[in-house]
């Protein structure tokens, strides 16, 4: 038996859940290269298991985004209604401000003309 034909089987049995076929097992017992490979697979699996305890930190907005997406429709509607109401009021206020500003401009121009005429 050759090392190449055992190689992928080592990847399979490294977690200890399966055993090698007898001929492969005999080969590994007498082959330092395959034994070394098996050790590397076991180290690899230990390191992979170790990654389970490592968490990546998402940026701050993620939780809020998830919760917003999950918000019940009623809440969303309420929020929409509120923001629509705010938009109407804002629009009215802006229009009133623009009207007042226009009136002031016209009044000041008229006053300027009158003072020139006199």
């Amino acid at each position: 038996m050759r090392c190449e034909s055992v190689s992928l089987q080592l990847a399979e049995i490294a977690d200890g859940l399966n055993r090698l076929p007898l001929d492969a097992e005999r080969h590994v017992e007498s082959c330092l290269r395959c034994q070394a490979e098996l050790v590397q697979y076991r180290r690899l699996l230990r390191a992979l298991t170790g990654l389970r305890g490592q968490y990546l930190a998402p940026d701050d907005g993620l939780l809020e985004d998830i919760l917003a997406a999950l918000r019940p429709p009623a809440t969303v509607h309420r929020l929409h209604r509120r923001s629509r109401k705010a938009a109407y009021l804002g629009g009215i206020a802006a229009a009133a401000t623009a009207g007042a500003a226009g009136a002031i401009v016209i009044a000041s121009r008229l006053a300027a003309r009158q003072s020139l005429a006199s």
């Binding site: 990847a11 399979e12 490979e37 050790v39 699996l45 990654l51 968490y55 919760l67 999950l70």
Partner: protein, 192 residues
């Protein structure tokens, strides 16, 4: 650390329609879900999308959660499924993905001066190596060897047969081993 009993209680309340209980479950689990999503899709923005989709599906399907497995395992399964769908969609719309069988770069610090600085221990190298695996291989090794999901569940969530899942797992492990232990290091491993 989170007690299983607390989670079970929150799950029961959420199933009964308590929205705040579900929000609490999200708060307790979203970092874990994000970590898995990132490990599966390999990109922060994509991972965020996968996480959001995961919780929407979990919320919708919570009544079907029977409690046979832990809530976290159930979430992992949904995350895997969402990531798989997402990667499939991304694959159909993208033309610049890595090929399925890319050449593995030699990141042995002994041979690459740039890598001598930065790559610390084996876990750092392993995290980098995982991200270089083709997504199909990466998904299986992440779900099996990090998150301990059974082959059957992995196959189910990825839409492949159990034997295909096993073959991918062995190929992924082989790639990772070759990447982390290039030939020059075999002598060292023999000494262990």
């Amino acid at each position: 650390m989170l007690e299983s009993a607390d989670v079970d209680e929150l799950v029961e309340s959420a199933k009964a329609g308590d929205h705040l209980a579900f929000e609490q479950l999200v708060r307790l689990t979203y970092t874990d879900t994000y970590t898995l999503a990132y490990r599966l899709v390999g990109d922060e923005e994509d991972a965020r999308d996968v996480v959001q989709e995961t919780y929407l599906r979990a919320h919708k399907g919570l009544k079907r959660f029977r409690g046979d497995a832990q809530f976290s395992t159930w979430l992992h399964r949904i995350t895997a499924n969402c990531a798989n769908t997402y990667l499939g969609r991304r694959g159909r719309h993208s033309h610049d993905l890595l090929p399925d069988d890319p050449v593995i770069a030699d990141l042995n610090p002994q041979r690459d001066p740039e890598q001598r600085v930065g790559l610390g221990d084996l876990r750092d190298q392993l995290s980098a190596a995982l991200l270089e695996l083709p997504p199909k291989l990466r998904a299986v090794v992440v779900l099996r060897d990090i998150y301990d999901l059974p082959h059957e569940t992995i196959a189910d969530q990825l839409g492949i047969t159990e034997s295909a899942a096993k073959v991918r797992l062995h190929r992924a492990r082989k790639r990772l081993r070759e990447r982390l232990y290039p030939l020059g290091e075999e002598e060292e491993a023999r000494a262990v």
